[in-house]
């Protein structure tokens, strides 16, 4: 054991590895912060540079890009309401309202702190519990995934605020939009109408940008610039008090991220939403969520960064890539003649230790690079809106095009922008739409796969303790939401009567 650890340390402790990891995190933060440039795209573009590097250095470079990218997505989500990555889509819910109040630096700081803590917890979990979590993750079949995603959708009741019915309808629209494209079971078209660009479905990025950034820009051009009230927290970063207030939420979100990250195919976005939902449920100020609550930013970022180390669990322990990025990293292993899986733990354990050491260092790099970038990036909010919003629009055009090199995506972005603007005018909350659009494909696929396995019997959704666990949680959350809704209506009724009297 000790011998292997020392060998691993010497494999890792090279200048090349330190530099590669730092460059990786830096590239990741930059790419993640630009709408349209996704983390998988950045990891794929970095892959050729690893061919000539030693295996550990090359893999650490890719891991750095991955970790930096997940955090970087939160920067534009907070500053300009355009999440750089789908994983950061939950961060916009409270991050942008905070930026609008002049608290961008505070939100960015909290996003960084929670990202680093979650990343650290995720890395520790990878090192200590890889085996246990991998075997637990393998128990998740389509029925379990369906109940998990269904439970995640209960957050809609939370983000809809007082507009519960409209929020639910908004979620239905999101679920419907997610069905556009080729049906995964039968391979037939749905809502394609001869438009080949729609065969692969609608990409997340143009939809996210369109739904959140464009309505904000349209609103600016249609109305006069609103002068914000002087906020004492404007320009001030997150304090230790803020961090301690959110610490419990961050730890909880991190573990949610670890568990979901270990399940192949789930990804960071559902984890962020689940963490957010849990934070809102247990918060002393649930009514502030969605209006610029710092705990909301912490929860979302802890949830999505918590998966970063955990997605490596099925890859290293079982040789199964959990998402696109780990699939690319698997490719990097194979290029260097390595095959992740149980055998690697016996044949190349020193290499595993070297990667673990590098992963731990990546959290420190993330903190240092993130902290340095916030100092400059937070100045963006000082640019007058009459200059900033047109620039954001141009960035959105480039970003939407870059996802698939398709001008069609720009049209989709504008179309979604108009839809978002219409929703804003009719006071239909757009957050449920976004949540449903992101979780929709997973919900439908797992629903139909389960029924395919069971021959059409719904009993499959109640067949395992994991399914029951999520059903019970769903019932509890819905009951609590219904109770809170009824209570608020009752209070309003009593207040009205009092006034009449």
């Amino acid at each position: 054991m000790m011998e292997n650890l020392i060998s691993g340390f010497f494999l890792f402790a090279t200048i090349d590895s330190f530099v590669a990891l730092g460059i990786g995190v830096f590239i990741g933060v930059i790419v993640g912060a630009i709408p349209g440039l996704t983390t998988p795209m950045a990891v794929a573009l970095t892959l050729p540079f690893t061919f000539t590097l030693p295996p550990v250095t090359g893999i650490l470079l890719l891991l750095g890009v991955y970790k930096g990218g997940i955090y970087g997505g939160s920067i534009t989500a907070i500053l300009i309401n355009a999440p750089g990555t789908p994983a950061a889509s939950c961060t916009v819910l409270d991050g942008y309202p905070m930026a609008k109040k002049g608290e961008a630096k505070r939100a960015l700081d909290m996003a960084l702190y929670s990202s680093c803590v979650a990343d650290f917890i995720s890395n520790i979990s990878l090192i200590l519990f890889a085996g246990i979590l991998a075997s637990f993750a393998l128990k998740f079949g389509p029925a379990e995934v369906f109940t998990l995603i269904f439970f995640s959708l209960t957050i809609i009741s939370g983000v809809s605020g007082s507009q519960l019915l409209k929020g639910m309808a908004s979620a239905c629209l999101g679920l419907l939009l997610a069905t556009v494209g080729m049906d995964l079971i039968y391979g037939t078209n749905r809502f394609v109408f001869g438009q080949t660009n729609l065969l692969a479905g609608l990409n997340f990025i143009p939809v996210l940008i369109g739904l959140f950034a464009i309505p904000e820009i349209l609103n600016f051009f249609c109305k006069k610039e609103i002068k914000l009230k002087k906020n004492p927290l404007a320009g001030v970063g997150a304090t230790l008090k803020d961090f301690l207030k959110c610490f419990k939420t961050i730890v909880k979100g991190s573990f949610i991220g670890v568990i979901l990250g270990a399940i192949p195919g789930i990804g960071a976005a559902p984890s962020a939403f689940l963490s957010y939902s849990e934070a809102r449920r247990t918060s002393k100020n649930p009514e502030n969520f969605g209006k610029g609550e710092i705990e909301g930013v912490a929860a979302a970022e802890a949830g999505n960064n918590g998966v970063a180390g955990a997605t490596m669990i099925p890859l290293l322990a079982l040789g199964i890539p959990g998402d696109i990025i780990t699939a690319i990293i698997l490719g990097a292993f194979m290029i260097h003649g390595l095959r992740p899986g149980p055998l690697m733990f016996t044949q190349n354990i020193e290499l595993i230790y070297a990667i673990f050491m590098g992963i731990m260092l990546s959290s420190i790099y993330l903190f240092a690079i993130g902290k340095a970038s916030i100092r400059f990036i937070s100045k963006i909010t000082d640019i007058p809106h009459r200059i900033l919003f047109p620039i954001i629009l141009v960035l959105c055009i480039f970003g939407s095009y870059a996802v698939n090199n398709s001008a069609f995506d720009i049209s989709i972005m504008f179309l979604m922008g108009l839809l978002g603007f219409g929703m804003l005018q009719l006071k239909i909350p757009s957050a449920p739409f976004l949540i449903a659009f992101i979780l929709g494909p997973m919900l439908e696929d797992s629903f139909r796969q389960s029924l395919l396995i069971s021959g059409g019997s719904y009993s499959i959704f109640f067949s395992t303790p994991i399914c029951w666990f999520f059903w019970i949680l769903t019932v509890i959350i819905i009951s609590l939401a219904a109770w809170a809704y009824a209570k608020s209506k009752g209070t309003t009724f009593l207040k009205t009567n009092k006034i009449v009297k």
């Binding site: 309808a169 078209n189 141009v394 960035l395 055009i397 001008a407 720009i410 629903f447 029924l451």
Partner: protein, 164 residues
């Protein structure tokens, strides 16, 4: 009644009408026409149209729910009168978007972005010519250079193909 207020249909009712209309449109037209049903579907539940149909029905039910919820208080409310200037600005911005989408394939992204920036900066209220000129030329150029040279993403240059 305030001089600047007017009785308008409630936003909730408008939203509910949209939900019901769209739900019906899906069930009666978009799903039958837009979802290709394979011939070998063994179970109706597994058919590609099953899931969208369920959601469409839920959408209609929610729309009706909103109608019922608002029924006791009436379908109209007093709202602020919409200023002509506001409507004009909405129209202008919609036309700008349509123009961008229409000219993008011919003009290319850098040129279209530059022109759009120039127009939007002026529409937004920026009056300093030097700022307008610098922002509308340098910003698209810098973003273009980042995407093409650093991220290696080919951006369509359109009319500027020979220059860039």
């Amino acid at each position: 009644m305030n001089m600047k207020s007017i009785k308008l249909i409630k936003k909730d009712i408008l939203a509910a009408s949209v939900f019901v209309f769209f739900g019906l449109l899906l069930i009666l037209l978009l799903i039958p026409r837009g979802v290709v049903e394979p011939g070998n579907v063994e179970l109706a539940i597994l058919s590609p149209s099953y899931y969208p149909k369920i959601i469409s029905y839920i959408l209609i039910l929610i729309g009706l729910g909103i109608f019922i919820k608002n029924f006791p208080n009436g379908f109209f409310e007093e709202s602020e009168k919409i200023e002509k200037k506001y409507l004009f600005r909405i129209l202008i911005i919609f036309i700008t978007i349509l123009t961008i989408v229409f000219f993008l394939p011919t003009f290319g992204i850098p040129l279209t972005s530059g022109i759009a920036l120039l127009f939007l900066l002026m529409l937004g209220g920026e009056r300093r010519p030097i700022i307008i000129f610098l922002v509308s030329t340098l910003v698209p150029l810098l973003i273009y250079l980042f995407f093409t040279k650093v991220a290696q993403i080919p951006i369509p240059n359109g009319l500027l193909e020979s220059l860039l």
